[in-house]
Amino acid sequence: MGKDFSSALRPAIVMTILFAVLLGLVYPLAMTGIGQTLFPAQANGSLVRDARGTVVGSSVLGQAFTADRYFQTRPSAAGKGYDGLASSGSNLGPASQALVDRVKPDVAKRRAEGVPGPVPVDLVTASGSGLDPDLSPAAALTQAPRIARVRGVPVDRVRTLVADATQASILGDAHVNVLALNRALDTLSGASTAGARPR
C-alpha cells in the first residue's frame, strides 16, 4: 500500500495542474473567444435595444411587467421579483398554506378584471427560475380584453398580436415571449391611437 501511495504522488499533483490549466482555463477561454467571434449577440446575453439604442432587457430573460397596459408576467420568486442576481423558484409544496395565500389574491385580481372562467395556471404560479420570459398563449389571451380597454384599441388587434408572437414547439409547450409582445403592443398603440395611452 505504501508503494502504491508513493508512486501516485507525482502523477496526482502534476495531472491536477495540467488538467486545471487545460479544462479550467484553456477550454473556457477558447470557447469564449469562439463564442464572441461567431455569436457575439447571444454570447453577451441576447440584449434588446430600443430605437435610441438603450438596452431595455434580454430577449432570453424575463423582466417584471405589472402595469395594466402591458401583458403582465407570472409571479416571481427571484429576489423581489425578476431579480437577475437571485434566480429562484418559490419551493413551496403543493399543500402549503403559503402557496394558497399567494395564489388566492392573484386569482381574485383576475376575477376583478373580468376573467370569467378558470384562470390559466401559469398566470398565478411562480416559475422555476423566477425569470421566465414567457406566458402560455392562454395566459396572454386572458389579459387581452383588459389591455384593449386600457389602451383603447380593438381587442381583436391585441389577440392577433398574441397569435403572431406565439412560438410552437414539439419539444416543449407553446409560449409567447412577453417582452417581445409588449414591445409590439407599444408600436401598435403608437401607430393607431396616438394619445390614447393613459399614464
Partner: protein, 567 residues
Amino acid sequence: MTFQGWFLILAFIGILLALAKPVGLWLFALYEGRRTPLHIVLGPVERGFYALSGIDPNEEQGWRRYAVHMLLFNAILMAFTYAVLRLQGVLPGNPQGLAGVGEHLSFNTAISFTANTNWQSYGGESTMSNLSQMLGLTIHNFLSAATGIALAFALFRGFARRETKAIGNFWADMTRITLYLLLPLCVALTIFYIASGVPQTLAGVVEVQTLEGARQSILLGPVASQEAIKMLGTNGGGFFNANSAHPFENPTALTNFIQMLSIFVIGVGLTWTFGKAVGNTRQGWAILSAMMILFLAGTTATYWAEAAGNPVLHSLGVAGGNMEGKEVRFGIAASALFSVVTTAASCGAVNAMHDSFTALGGMIPLFNMQLGEVVIGGVGAGIYGFLLFAVLAVFVAGLMVGRTPEYVGKKIEAREVKLAVLAIAVLPLTILGFTALSSVVGQGLAGPLNKGPHGFSEILYAFTSAVANNGSAFAGLTANTPYYNGLLGVAMWIGRFFIIVPMLAIAGSLAAKKYTPESAGSFPTTGGLWVGLLVGIILILGGLTFLPSLALGPIADHLMMIRGQLS
C-alpha cells in the same frame, strides 16, 4: 397528458436507443486504448501529459494500486478546489468583487464536485466568481466524470479478463476519456448552446432599464462552457441558482432536449460497451432493457401526476397541470421528463423545482435516487452500480433454482457477494441514519421551508441526493449552515468512495478468476426472464428499504393534498 408530451418522451427514448451502439463503440475504442481519428490533434497532448507526470500508460495496475491512485488524485483535486474557493476574493476573474467562500461552504462544495454530486448549498450568481466557476468547478465536472467512466472500465476488465491481477491503468483511462470523449463533445455542445442564447463571456453584470422603467441587473459569465460538461458528465452543478430552469442556462425547448440527451448518452453507451467487452452485446442490451423499463415507469408516473395538477389550486378556480416551479417554454411534459432523467442518472441538474412538484410527482425523483442511481445512472457510476445488483441477482437466482451463480463467464462466490452487499448497504444506512438524526436535532429541524410531511421530505431528499451523488434538491431546505454543509459533505464522500472501493475489490477478485464457459447449468443472463429478475431485485432492495420513509414524507403529503388539508 397530451399527444405532444408522449411524442417527446418516445422520441427521447428512440434517439437514445439509436445512439447506444455508436457511442458504445467509441467508448469501446477508449476502453481498449485504440487509436481514434482525434489522436492526430490530441495525441501529442496525451503523450505530453504522461511525460510530465512520469506515467507509463501501458503499466497495468492491480485493483489496490488503481484505487490508491484514483483516491489520491481526487483528494488533491478536492484540496485544489477548496483553495480556489477560499482565495476567490484575491484571485482575478471576479468582476462582481465577491469575497472568498466560507469554510464550511467551501468544504461542502469541494467534496460535492469531487464526488460528481454537485449539490449546491449556495446560489451560483451571488457566491461564485467567473474564475471559481471555471477553475474551481468546471474541472471537476470533467474529471469526476472521467473518473467514473474509468472505474467502470476497470470493472468491465474484471469480468472480461482471465487469471490476472491487472485491471488497467487509471491515468491512461482517465486521460483518454477526458481528451477523446468529453472535451471534443463539450466543444461542440458549447458552440450549440451559445448559438441558442447561452452567454459565454468574462463580463459580469449588465444594468438595464426595463420597458416599465425599473432597473434590472443581468448577470452574464462563461455559462455555456460549463453547461456543456455539466450535463454530459452527469454533474448538474448550475452556474445560476435556478440551474437549468434559468433561461441563460437552458433558453429553449431544443436546448432542453439536448441537455436531457447529454445526461443519458454516455450511460446508455456504456451498457453496449460492457456487452462488447465481455464478448456478447446481448448482455449489454439486457441491462439497458431493465434500465429502460424502470425509466419508462418512472416517467409515466411523474408525467401523470404533474399533468393531473394540484387539486388545492384547482379548488381556487385555477385550470391546468402543476406549473408552480416550472417554466412555460418547457411545460409539463418536458419538465416531468427532465426530472426523471436527472434523478435516474445521478445528474441533479433541474429545469423545474422538484420541491413544488405534486407529492407523487416529486416522490419518483426521490425514489429514483434511492434505487441507487442505477437507471442509466451517473457516467460510469450507473453501470458499475448496476453490475453490483447483477451480481446479487445471479446469486439470488442461484439460490432459488439451485444453480451455481455465474455472470458473463465468471463464477460469483462468497467474496463478491459480500463486497456487493457492503457497497449496496451504504446507501440505506447513510441516507436513513442521517435523515433520522436531522429529524430530531434542532439544527436539522431548522432547515426545512415547508411544514408537515413536506418538510420531512425536504430533509429526506437532501440526504438521498447527497449519498446517491445526485445533487438535485427539494431546494426549500436551507442547507448553507455548518450542520447541513458538514453532514451532507460527509454523506457525499461516503456515497461515492465507500461504494467505489468494494466495487474495485470485486473487479480485482473477478479478474483473477478463470473463465467458466456457459453450460446447461448456467442461469441465462440475457432474455426476458433475466431482465425481469434484475428489475425485481432492484425494486425489492431499493423499494422495500425506503418504503417507510416514503410513507412518512411524500405519501402522507399526497393524502393531505387530495383532502385539501394545508400545512
